[in-house]
């Protein structure tokens, strides 16, 4: 069973994604802040990370940077799922190694789920 780590401080979104993705046959791991997200990424070795950027304790950019600096986690694809849509944030996240950058307001839930599934097929 493939594992997805969702680093997102909105508990409502955690629940929505858990309800859908567990039904699709994935194992969901949740982190509500950047620090615990990073810890879980290292200990659980997920197949995919869904990462918000505005997070307590450690923001998404810092998490992404540390994930890509660590040999053990640098190979894990990261989908950034955020409400920041300024070009500087997009460029910075891609530069740091994000696989995909999704602005929440621009996608339906179904579209996001399809992108998650596609990323896990690779």
């Amino acid at each position: 069973m493939k594992k997805i780590l969702f680093i997102e401080d909105e508990a409502a979104l955690q629940k929505t994604f858990r309800d859908i993705l567990e039904k699709e046959g994935y194992q969901m791991i949740s982190a509500l802040d950047g620090e615990s997200g990073l810890r879980l990424a290292k200990s659980q070795k997920p197949d995919l990370i869904l990462l918000d950027l505005i997070l307590p304790r450690k923001d998404g950019f810092e998490v992404l940077k540390e994930l890509k600096e660590d040999e053990a986690t640098k190979g894990i694809p990261v989908i950034v799922l955020t409400n920041l849509e300024d070009i500087e944030s997009v460029e910075r996240a891609i530069e740091l190694g994000a696989t995909t950058y999704l602005v929440k307001a621009q996608y339906t839930l179904e579209e996001v789920i399809q992108k998650v599934k596609k990323a896990l097929e690779k």
Binding site: E10, A12, T16, D19, I20, N83, K104, A105, T108
Partner: protein, 282 residues
């Protein structure tokens, strides 16, 4: 401001030496005039700075509030989508109606927040436009294709024509896309019954001109001078439809003017409107 004070000081010295014999009195007069001007300049500069600061804070406030609103709005929109998808169990037909109302309203809030964020960006110094070369007719064709389902659902036909061999224009493709989307959305949205929207692109001297004509509700004469103002919505539109943020045309005008272009319209209530904009060729 400094140059003016210096000039006035020199001038008052020259005039003073001509009419007053005593140099110490002239110097005193020049000193007094310079001091008064300096105080006035400081007061004016301070109030300008305060005004600019208040404006910056207002834009920042809108930006922060809008960003803060986005998170709960995404949660809401996706939760509704999940419920409506039937993934969590079948929903009754009567419930579907209410879910649709929830969805429509969450979409409206999302649009409003999106537009408010654009406005706050336009009004702050952070708004910068890219300068790139692109084809306006290609962009228009792309947008029309995306709008086809909406036009069809609104019983509206879109007719597109353009001059052959149009030159490319110079501007920010993403922002110009927003302008065309706004104008096309308005043209389709504010048409009663069978709609017909005609889009034409032609060359006009050093500009490429985009024109969109509809047979919609039109803009009442007394409202026309306010149409590009922030949050303004024409009185007949308010009666007819409640959707729309009243920010689309304000945003469009700002984008076109900052791209070195011009925007305008002609309209007759009950007959229709024609909006146009022109952008410079490289």
């Amino acid at each position: 401001m400094g140059t003016i004070i210096a000039l006035v000081s020199v001038l008052s010295y020259l005039i003073g030496t001509r009419y007053i014999a005593e140099p110490r009195i002239v110097a005193l007069i020049v000193l007094i005039i310079s001091a008064i001007l300096l105080i006035l300049a400081t007061i004016i500069t301070n109030s300008f700075e305060k005004l600019a600061e208040a404006n910056r804070m207002k834009s920042e406030f809108i930006s922060i509030v809008s960003h803060q609103l986005r998170a709960p709005l995404s949660n809401l929109a996706w939760a509704i989508e999940l419920l409506m998808s039937g993934r969590l169990g079948k929903i009754e037909e009567q419930q579907v109606e209410y879910f649709k109302i929830l969805k429509e309203n969450s979409d409206r809030m999302k649009d409003l927040v999106k537009d408010l964020l654009i406005v706050s960006r336009i009004e702050s110094a952070r708004f910068s436009l890219k300068k790139e070369e692109f084809s306006l007719e290609e962009l228009t064709r792309e947008i029309i294709k995306e709008f086809e389902p909406f036009a069809k659902a609104s019983n509206c036909e879109i007719d597109f024509s353009f001059e052959e061999n149009l030159p490319k224009i110079y501007g920010d493709r993403y922002q110009i896309r927003q302008v065309i989307e706004n104008l096309l959305d308005n043209a389709i949205r504010y048409t009663k019954g069978k709609g017909k929207v005609k889009i034409r692109i032609k060359k006009e001297k050093k500009f490429v001109c985009f024109e969109i004509e509809d047979n919609g509700v039109g803009i009442p004469k007394e409202d026309q001078k306010f149409i590009f103002q922030k949050f303004f919505r024409a009185s007949n539109v308010l009666k007819y439809k409640t959707q729309g943020t009243g920010l689309g045309l304000y945003i469009s005008k700002a984008i076109i003017e900052r791209s070195g272009g011009k925007i305008g319209f002609k309209s007759k209530e009950g007959v229709g409107s024609t909006f146009w904009f022109k952008l410079p060729i490289k």
